[in-house]
């Protein structure tokens, strides 16, 4: 089936998420929708899928205008979607998830689970998925959950399939497998819309590329164009995809983790005998698919894991067993992975957020009072130094864009007297400009002679930023390798196969 979007416009209040967007996808074609976070890719697809109602424009299927008042209509018309955040119910079985919404029933609305199992097996076998219809979805690995999501989209005979940032949660191997699945679907004549911001993937599978920026189509491109050309179309200016960093000048190994283990609240081993050391002036990147113990590792360093055993030494001093405040006072700077949840208090102003970790001491307090004049001066200086784009230091942190929020967090953490800098996914969800800024700051911190620990889930970032890379899998360090290691080897390591 041929899909055409004509002049789609979608507004949220005064914000224009999509403006006059047009797009045509032919059957048997993989059409990439490329754009930065916030470019309006997901909004457009949610309009197509009936989740949002467009304020202008029309949707045509095989040259006939259609109107969707909800996802049910879109599905009935043959549109399926593989969502970025899986739309699966963790406590249901695979079969229950797949049939939800169009259940095979016997007399009186009684579920026909036998028919459901047959259907799941049928589609699953076509693609060699090997799904167990009776497995509980929440127990399955993420890659397999995505297959359930694909089967779910295909069961209603979708002719047009939307993949919304499908590779964000996958290992490189799983990503390759997904690409193969998309190609197999293309062979069957399915029209595919593939939303992504990863240029490597675009170049591998796309037949056609449409680039979105700030809600508008800025142009079409062919997959033959170079990555830097695509990137500058996406961002709107020349971008340097390379991180410039001079060779590391290594000092003493001042940060040493040895035999670190931790157990989650339900008894699972989340850190398993983790050992590494970081030299002064060195960036060690912890690479791996999300959820393999990286969060717990950073939490253990900060003193948030009270069930951790082993040792974490900074300049010879043991961090394990100390309270968070003591750890911070020893000179640990920390950027958490979820800045809106853990990095900032959204309802506080920028100035208040900047002093969060030192609001109890001089020079911020005099007697029982906060020295507001000093705080103003301090915040003004930092906002300028870290290029936080804001009208005032009294703006609430929650109102800032992701990039500016991250700059506030960085400003607070880096403005202390540090002995170690830890950042967890510091560029997650940021625009290219902010990513460049964050990378610069990290490299600068390393050049100042600090040991730096970065958690990265994107392989490209890990390779470019790190001096060495430690790959984690299921709470263990699979291996620590130089950043010149080939991608394929790193990908294998991320799946638990040691180099």
């Amino acid at each position: 089936m041929k899909l055409e979007l004509r002049g789609i416009t979608k507004r949220f209040g005064s914000l224009v998420a999509n403006e006059n967007v047009s797009l045509t996808v032919q059957p048997g074609e993989i059409h990439c929708l490329l754009g930065e976070n916030g470019a309006g890719k997901s909004t457009l697809m949610n309009v197509l899928y009936g989740l949002y109602q467009a304020d202008g424009g029309e949707i045509l299927l095989d040259d006939k205008v259609v109107k969707f008042s909800g996802p049910g209509d879109a599905m009935a018309a043959g549109i399926g979607m593989v969502h970025q955040h899986f739309m699966l119910i963790p406590v249901f079985t695979v079969a229950e998830n797949v049939i939800l919404g169009h259940e095979p029933t016997k007399l009186g609305g009684v579920l026909d689970m036998a028919a459901a199992r047959v259907k799941v097996r049928e589609i699953s076998d076509q693609f060699g998925f090997d799904l167990d219809p009776d497995a509980i979805v929440g127990d399955l690995p993420v890659g397999v959950q995505q297959r359930v999501e694909i089967v779910k989209a295909l069961i209603s005979n979708a002719q047009i399939l939307i993949f919304d940032e499908p590779t964000a949660v996958l290992t490189p191997q799983e990503t390759d497998e997904l690409m193969a699945i998309m190609k197999a679907l293309r062979e069957r004549g399915t029209a595919i819309v593939f939303i992504t911001h990863k240029l490597r993937e675009v170049k591998e599978v796309a037949d056609k590329i449409t680039v979105l920026r700030l809600g508008k189509v800025v142009g079409e491109a062919s997959p033959d164009e170079s990555a830097s050309e695509l990137a500058s179309m996406m961002v709107g200016r020349e971008v340097d995809l390379e991180i410039v960093k001079e060779p590391a000048k290594l000092g003493a190994a001042s940060f040493v983790v040895s035999g670190l283990s931790a157990i989650s609240h339900n008894g699972a081993k989340v850190l398993d005998d983790v050992s590494f050391e970081i030299h002064q002036g060195e960036i060690l990147v912890i690479a791996g698919v999300q959820g393999n113990g990286q969060t717990e590792l950073t939490e253990a360093i900060l003193g948030l894991q009270n069930k951790a055993t082993g040792s974490i030494k900074l300049n010879g001093e043991e961090l394990l067993g100390k309270r968070v405040k003591q750890v911070l006072d020893l000179g640990v700077g920390f950027v958490p992975e979820d800045r809106t949840e853990d990095g900032l208090v959204a309802d506080f102003t920028i100035a208040e957020n900047l002093m969060l970790d030192r609001a109890d001491r001089k020079p911020f307090v005099a007697g029982l009072n906060l020295r507001l004049a000093f705080l103003r001066e301090f915040a003004t200086k930092l906002v300028k130094q870290y290029d936080v784009r804001t009208q005032s230091i009294e703006t609430k942190a929650g109102k800032l864009s992701g990039g500016n929020q991250q700059k506030v967090v960085l400003a607070r953490e880096l403005s202390r007297d540090l002995k170690l800098f830890v950042a967890s996914q510091p560029t997650r969800g940021l625009d290219v400009g902010s990513i460049e800024f964050v990378h610069e700051q990290i490299v600068k911190t390393r050049n100042s002679g600090l040991p730096v620990l970065i958690v990265a889930t994107e392989l490209d970032e890990a390779v470019q930023l790190g001096d060495r890379i430690a790959v984690m899998y299921r709470g263990k360090i699979v291996g620590i390798v130089p950043s010149t290691t080939p991608r394929e080897v790193l990908g294998q390591m991320m799946a638990g196969i040691s180099a």
């Binding site: 909800g70 049910g72 209509d73 739309m87 119910i89 249901f92 939800l100 009684v110 579920l111």
Partner: protein
């Protein structure tokens, strides 16, 4: 040996404490005998009577207290052994312990009296009826994602409307229908405020309970109590003996010689279970309660599903409310549900949001409540204030101590806002 974690030894610790209590009971056991009568008194059941009668048993109270202590100590030792060897403790251990413990307490409390098992169970079932209906209302509401604190209000509305409608129509069955409408209306209010106006579900639930208490009190005082004949003398709804089944010894008079509302309850429990787990309707309902957005993306109407399910629940709670009036041939009285809605809520959690388990939990709480009545009628020397506490203490101990951490429907209590 590794240090034992608190989670693993929680059950043995609780059992140990309770064993100490049985020890104390044995030490303090009064001299005397307790007579246990298994069958019903011939007069209290239907004309047919039971097919077989057991002989009465006489137990020396002190002796049985020591035997109970021995048995509970044995079970506790087993529980410790399970915990220390890191084995999964069997649930039957706790259940067996509970049975011995309760029986022991019964024998000491009924010292010098006759304990009629059939009567105890029959009364328990009657008192459990509103709890079971109430917990079904909770299941249907929370499974679809709405926390239902307003069960109490739904029960009370059911009681009030059923009494009035049955009186006006001179027909108890019409009263039952009225009760369902009344309960459904209260739950409709809950749904409107929670879904359309996105009010916090706990707060609106509490407010509705207070509102219904105030409203029924007001109407009762202004016209109902002064015109009892006209508005508040519901006709009797006679209890029915199911032919054949009611003659089964012990179980017959307990289960099958009851008010029609009790029979409706059996069907309701089975029906809700079947609908929830075996039908398309139930699958969609549970999907909405777990992850409304996922349900939305496959074309399920989240709001409509929520309204429908919550209101069916309210109608069931209305039936439970009607049991206070029609089921027991009583006129409506101020606040006559007396907290049953909150106990139903506990039964719902104790029953892990499963209609069948919740029904059994309701029966257990009904048993505790009934104990209090039976003891005060046989004239036990235990202070009545203590007995009044019994169902509530049991609720707290069971929900906090033995249930532990249970997870309900993931989206319960959260409003779903379509963008």
């Amino acid at each position: 040996m590794k240090a034992l974690k608190l989670g693993a030894i929680r059950v043995p610790i609780i059992l140990s404490v309770l064993t100490l209590i049985t020890f104390w009971l044995a030490l303090a056991a009064p001299g005397g005998i307790t007579t246990i009568q298994i069958n019903s008194n011939a007069t209290s059941t239907g004309a047919a009577g039971e097919a077989f009668r057991f002989a009465n048993i006489t137990a020396i109270t002190a002796q049985s207290a020591w035997i109970s202590f021995g048995l509970t100590a044995l079970v506790t030792a087993l529980a410790w052994w399970f915990a220390i060897t890191a084995r999964k403790p069997s649930r039957w251990l706790s259940i067996g312990f509970g049975a011995i413990f309760v029986f022991n307490i019964l024998i000491s409390l009924f010292n010098g009296q006759t304990m009629t098992i059939t009567a105890l169970l029959h009364g328990s079932l009657s008192l459990a009826v509103p709890l079971v209906f109430g917990s079904l209302a909770g299941v249907l509401s929370e499974r679809v994602g709405l926390v239902n604190i307003a069960i109490e209000g739904q029960l009370l509305a059911g009681a009030f409307v059923s009494a009035m409608v049955a009186t006006l129509a001179h027909n108890p069955w019409v009263g039952l229908i009225g009760a369902m409408v009344g309960g459904a209306l209260v739950s409709w209010l809950l749904a409107v405020f929670a879904i359309r106006y996105v009010v916090d579900q706990i707060i609106i639930g509490v407010v509705l309970n207070v509102l219904i208490v105030g409203l029924t009190n007001f109407m009762f005082s202004t016209f109902m109590s002064s015109n009892q004949e006209l508005f508040n003398s519901p006709p009797r709804m006679p209890s029915i003996d199911v032919p054949g089944l009611s003659q089964i010894p012990v179980l017959g008079p307990v289960l099958f010689s009851q008010s029609p509302i009790v029979y409706l309850m059996y069907f309701a429990v089975a029906g809700v279970w079947f609908a929830l787990y075996k039908t398309r309707w139930g699958l969609r309902l549970r999907a909405v309660g777990e992850y409304p957005k996922a349900a939305d993306t496959v074309g399920i109407k989240v709001y409509a599903t929520r309204y429908r399910s919550v209101m069916i629940g309210g109608a069931l709670a209305g039936l439970g409310g009607a049991f206070f009036t029609l089921g027991q041939s009583l006129a409506f009285g101020k606040e006559m549900t007396n907290g049953a809605g909150y106990i139903a809520l506990a039964a719902l959690i104790f029953g892990r949001w499963n209609p069948v388990y919740a029904a059994f939990a309701g029966l257990l709480f009904g048993f505790a409540e009934n104990l209090q009545y039976s003891l005060s009628t046989v004239g036990s020397n235990v202070p009545s204030d203590f007995l009044l506490m019994l169902p509530y203490v049991l609720t707290v101990v069971l929900v906090a101590g033995l249930v532990g951490k249970v997870t309900g429907p993931a989206a319960a209590g959260k409003a779903y806002i379509k963008s």
